[in-house]
């Protein structure tokens, strides 16, 4: 299949796409603000995969390599859109911290995903890279070209927003139930 992809055979390229597109679209949805943007990231990412497949050295898993390309494509897309929230903007965000461990468990994946997608772009990137990809703040700083302290700050803000929204969503659901 990989040989066929390198030779430009469409059927093999489609097989590779079909094998990984579902997982990679999940990754793209986490980094994107909405469905259409995730679709763009997936498309650009797979074009890079096929154009650079010859450079894959088989030292790690192919899935990991494709995943890194998707993450990098998403970061490239959103790095330029990152902006620093002013203190006023931060203050205006309504954040209330409650303890609703049990209530949040009733939320489904799509609801959780929606909460991440609604995060401001710089918070979303840092939260994804730290909590889901496992990068350190130093690595995130290098990737996003921000300082380590900014990365820590963004993660803290992301967590606060997520906790608040998680609680609100849970309360709504509990009332319905």
């Amino acid at each position: 299949m990989i040989k066929g992809c390198l030779q430009g055979r469409k059927t093999d390229q489609y097989r590779l796409y079909a094998l990984y597109s579902k997982k990679m679209f999940g990754v793209c949805l986490r980094y994107a603000a909405n469905y259409e943007e995730a679709q763009d990231v997936l498309q650009d990412g797979f074009i890079k995969v096929f154009q650079n497949l010859s450079s894959f050295k088989w030292k790690g898993s192919l899935e990991g390599w494709i995943r890194r390309i998707m993450v990098n494509t998403a970061i490239e897309k959103y790095r330029g859109k990152m902006y620093h929230l002013s203190m006023e903007e931060i203050a205006n965000e309504e954040i209330s911290i409650n303890n609703h461990h049990q209530a949040t468990d009733i939320l489904h994946a799509k609801d959780i995903l929606a909460l991440v997608q609604k995060l401001p772009v710089q918070y979303r990137l840092v939260f994804n890279l730290y909590a889901l990809e496992g990068f350190s703040h130093k690595e995130i700083g290098d990737i996003l070209k921000i300082s380590e302290s900014t990365s820590r700050s963004n993660l803290t803000r992301a967590r606060m927003i997520l906790k608040d929204k998680l609680n609100k969503e849970s309360e709504v659901l509990l009332r319905v139930i």
């Binding site: 059927t11 597109s21 579902k22 997982k23 679209f25 909405n34 679709q39 074009i47 609703h100 889901l132």
Partner: protein
């Protein structure tokens, strides 16, 4: 709710998240890959191909220049520099040379020089003048497939993101893949026709070492413009390589300068035997015996051993000047094409071999071939082989119809003159711009 709980909660739900992307995403990726052949490794191949093409053209040009130079350096040829037109006898009947006299003279280089110094100057040169863009869907993709629409972004709100593929869409993609896998021979075939205006001349691979070494063919012969036409079939071997063949009718040849034709006013036959005119392509046997041919610039006319009454000679009138030799070939080329650029307009590099069968070897008086031939070139090889190269540009003018523009060079590999007069090794070549249309199945 501590930080660890938040991180773990999101990680649990999102890390293994799998969502079916929309069907049209693959089609957009496929289209983008088709249009990006310049990118990546193909760009390197394209640069290599372009470098090879430049090298071949440069080598060919250098080769031509060197042959020209070696010919001009020939001491005998230098002595053969023609003199003035005023040297033409006032009677209007220029001196012609008997073949025996010519052979005798040529055995004495000094004599040759003296003889040629008295030859009249060549006349001015009169050349014979004769006259793939698809939309986002690749071909074969059913139109029922949904396309991404950015006009209604709300149609894909989050709650609607987890929709499975519809049965119709899955079926359409499967059909598309099946059709891609089962592409038949004809789906890779491209049929077309072309017409080309063509520049024709010849190169000397070796100078003549025989009896006619002293004749400065290079300055007494010149290029002609002709045409070629043909039918072509191209079969795609891969996304970048294709093989092309066809059936072509190709006219090549040259113009022979300084040969004057005289005719009896009453068109009476002057000779019982044929005159022969020596050219670099061998001897032209003139069947029209009502003409008397004379060489103004060298000693290329071999008269039959017949006595022509001086009274008749005085009565002859000049009718034309120069001869046009035309060689008509039926050709079967086998050419490989490599796609250099595959955007809206395709650009291919092409190269291959051509087998040529000589159909016609007529010779015409003057520069027009739209008249009856007066003779034929003798001793030519019936089967010949040549090398062909150039570029091919395909411009889409319809869904499957293409306009083709192909600058093409052709050089014969074997000497055309097989036997008869020993005038050296002559290789015809041509430059043409093939223009035509083709249909892709």
């Amino acid at each position: 709710m501590d930080n660890q709980y938040i991180d773990n909660r999101f990680k649990e739900e999102l890390q293994g998240l799998e969502v079916n992307p929309p069907v049209e995403t693959w089609l957009d990726i496929s289209d983008a890959l088709d249009k990006s052949t310049l990118a990546g490794r193909n760009y390197v191949v394209m640069r290599a191909a372009a470098a090879i093409a430049v090298f071949v053209v440069a080598a060919f040009s250098l080769w031509m220049i060197l042959f020209e130079q070696s010919f001009q350096d020939d001491p005998i040829v230098q002595q053969a520099a023609p003199v003035s037109m005023d040297a033409v006898p006032s009677t209007g009947i220029p001196q012609t040379v008997n073949s025996e006299m010519l052979l005798a003279d040529l055995s004495q280089p000094a004599a040759i020089g003296n003889y040629q110094a008295n030859l009249p100057q060549p006349l001015p040169v009169f050349n014979s003048v004769l006259p793939h863009n698809i939309q986002s869907f690749p071909p074969g993709v059913p139109n029922s497939l949904p396309r991404r629409s950015l006009t209604s972004p709300d149609s894909h709100n989050l709650s609607g993101n987890f929709q499975p593929l519809t049965d119709n869409a899955v079926s359409d993609v499967q059909m598309y893949l099946k059709s891609e896998e089962n592409k038949s021979f004809f789906s890779n075939l491209n049929l077309g026709a072309h017409f080309a205006l063509q520049y024709n001349y010849r190169a000397f691979a070796n100078q003549s070492t025989g009896s006619y070494r002293s004749i400065p063919f290079n300055s007494l012969e010149s290029q002609i413009y002709t045409f070629s036409a043909g039918l072509n079939a191209t079969l795609a071997l891969s996304s970048t390589w294709a093989i092309q063949t066809g059936l072509h009718l190709n006219n090549m040849g040259q113009f022979v300068e300084g040969i004057l034709a005289y005719q009896h006013p009453e068109h009476k036959s002057l000779y019982n035997q044929n005159q022969i005119v020596v050219t670099s392509f061998g001897g032209v046997t003139v069947y029209d015996n009502s003409h008397h041919f004379s060489d103004q610039s060298s000693h290329r006319v071999l008269d039959p051993d017949e006595y022509l009454d001086p009274k008749i000679l005085d009565a002859l009138k000049k009718t034309d000047e120069g001869l046009t030799q035309v060689f008509q070939f039926l050709e079967i080329p086998v050419v490989f094409r490599y796609k250099l650029i595959g955007h809206h307009v395709d650009l291919h590099l092409k190269g291959g071999m051509t087998a040529s069968y000589l159909l016609n070897r007529d010779v015409y008086m003057g520069s027009s071939i739209f008249q009856s031939p007066i003779g034929q070139t003798q001793g030519l090889r019936q089967f010949n082989f040549s090398v062909t190269g150039g570029f091919a540009m395909q411009v889409p003018i319809g869904s499957r119809l293409y306009l083709n523009l192909e600058p093409t060079a052709q050089l014969f590999l074997n000497p055309m003159v097989q036997d008869g007069l020993n005038t050296g090794t002559v290789l015809p070549y041509s430059f043409s711009l093939q223009t035509g249309v083709s249909y892709r199945f």
